[in-house]
């Protein structure tokens, strides 16, 4: 059963990100000029302004940098409260915002190791796979 989720940002760049997720791969844009990894997807490198970007595969592993738990309903009841968000530092460097999978904010320890997995979701743009993170 796909989970109904609030809307993704779609369009050039973003669509490719979700296509890779659909294949079970976490890929971020990498600037061919300065090597920066960019997320969310951008038309040009936010660091050096270069316009050439490749989609680079991430290992999907990282460590937990921060978290928060939503008690206020910002999405009209679509997401059961409370629910948690986490900030993960990917081993490649970028910080990736996501949800914990199989653990909650009570279990969080600074720097705990996590790895990506994909869950079936849908929004008005259709069915897609959402990257979330489980303990390793």
């Amino acid at each position: 059963m796909a989970e109904k989720r609030p809307p993704r940002t779609l369009g050039p760049g973003h669509d490719q990100f979700w296509e890779w997720c659909g294949k079970g791969e976490l890929r971020l844009q990498k600037c061919t000029g300065c090597g920066a990894l960019i997320w969310p997807a951008a038309a040009a490198c936010e660091r050096c302004g270069d316009g050439e970007m490749d989609w680079q595969a991430m290992t999907g592993r990282g460590k937990l940098v921060s978290w928060c738990s939503f008690h206020q309903d910002y999405y009209g009841g679509m997401l059961p409260l409370p629910y948690d968000c986490i900030l993960v530092e990917l081993v490649e460097g970028p910080l990736f915002l996501s949800n914990p999978s199989g653990f909650g904010c009570e279990d969080i320890e600074p720097g705990m190791a996590v790895a990506v997995r994909f869950i079936d979701c849908e929004d008005d743009g259709g069915a897609y796979r959402l990257p979330v993170f489980a303990r390793v």
């Binding site: 940002t9 660091r47 921060s66 910002y74 999405y75 009209g76 600074p110």
Partner: protein, 409 residues
Amino acid sequence: MAEYGALVMPPSIPELSRKAAIVGVGETDYHDDYRAQRKPPPGYEPPTTEALASLAFERALADSGLKRGEIDGLTGSFTYGGPPPAELAALLGVKPRYNIANGNIMAGPLPVVCAAIAEGKADIVAMVYAVNSRSVGRVFGGATHLGGAEGYGTPPSYYYYHPWGWSSQAAHWAMIFAHYQMKYGLREEDLGAVAQQVRVHASRNPNAVMQTPFTIEEYMSSRYIVRPLHLLDICLVNDGAVCLIVRRADMARDMVKTPVDVAGWGEARIKHSKFDVMVRQQLRPQLEEAGGQAFAMAGLGQADIGHFEGYDAGSMHLINQIEGYGFAKPGEGVAFCQAGEMDLTGRLPTNTEGGNLSCSYMHGWSQVAETVRQLRHEAGSRQVAGVRNAMTSLAQTDQAHPLVFARGD
């Protein structure tokens, strides 16, 4: 969205320092308006943007002792819409030679006016700000925040992470504090001291929306908005208006009330890696850079500042600014507050009117009004004794805009 619109700040150069002074302030009745909107008496209509703006202007004009006909400059700043320049002038009964729509939130509009005065475009400018976020039912967070053309200027962190349920300014401050806790070993209740201190200040301000002090136990039992932050960590949403009357500094010396010189300003924004800069560095590079610009322009330093107004959209963000500008060491901002250093007799009396948390959410404008009262030494029971210089800081999730003020006598 114009809220984050690209208002071009004049350069932070000593040549523009102290060229203009604030000589009049006016504010609306935050406390009474908030109460009336929560429990409307029969037939109550919330005040319009125009009515709020007019009231603030009339009060500022009376405060300045100037005559209406002397006003030769006017700017309007409105967060959710307001009258265009010509209509605003007609509404207020003034005939300005300089009249512009001037962004909306502080701090940009004030340097713009100071530079205009230095360039001779006007000698006395009335700056009007009004916001009616509560009566228009403004929602902070959720899928109303969009990217693309509709959401022009909105930071991606306000909308991009909807699929993971990430939304609201509160979530930004929550994630910063959760990381701060891990890094420095703070307990959740430690942060309560910040909102508590600001409320103590507000208890001395009859115009503050919220004036009743609370205990740390009451803080902890207030509901979570985005854990680890409680309701009391998040700013108010209320309607109101502020007017500042700004005069050419050399013409402002013989007025009834002490002029308050605009001595310095700065600006810095996150250019990339927002989560890293915001969460792991608490916006420190931007606060240091912009603070450095403002101090250098004013010829002053941290030790000269006797009163601070920081943008407490969330309690944690006030700590980011206290640390980032160098008033406390990294990781020591909450302890600085717990030790009473933000109280009236502390090293840095902070948000003495009650800030955005307890007084009024005027997007920085009411904090400038409070700075003027403090530097004039007319803040009554919440006066910081003998204060001569002050800093007022606007800071969003990705940018910092400090202002430095000096008593002009």
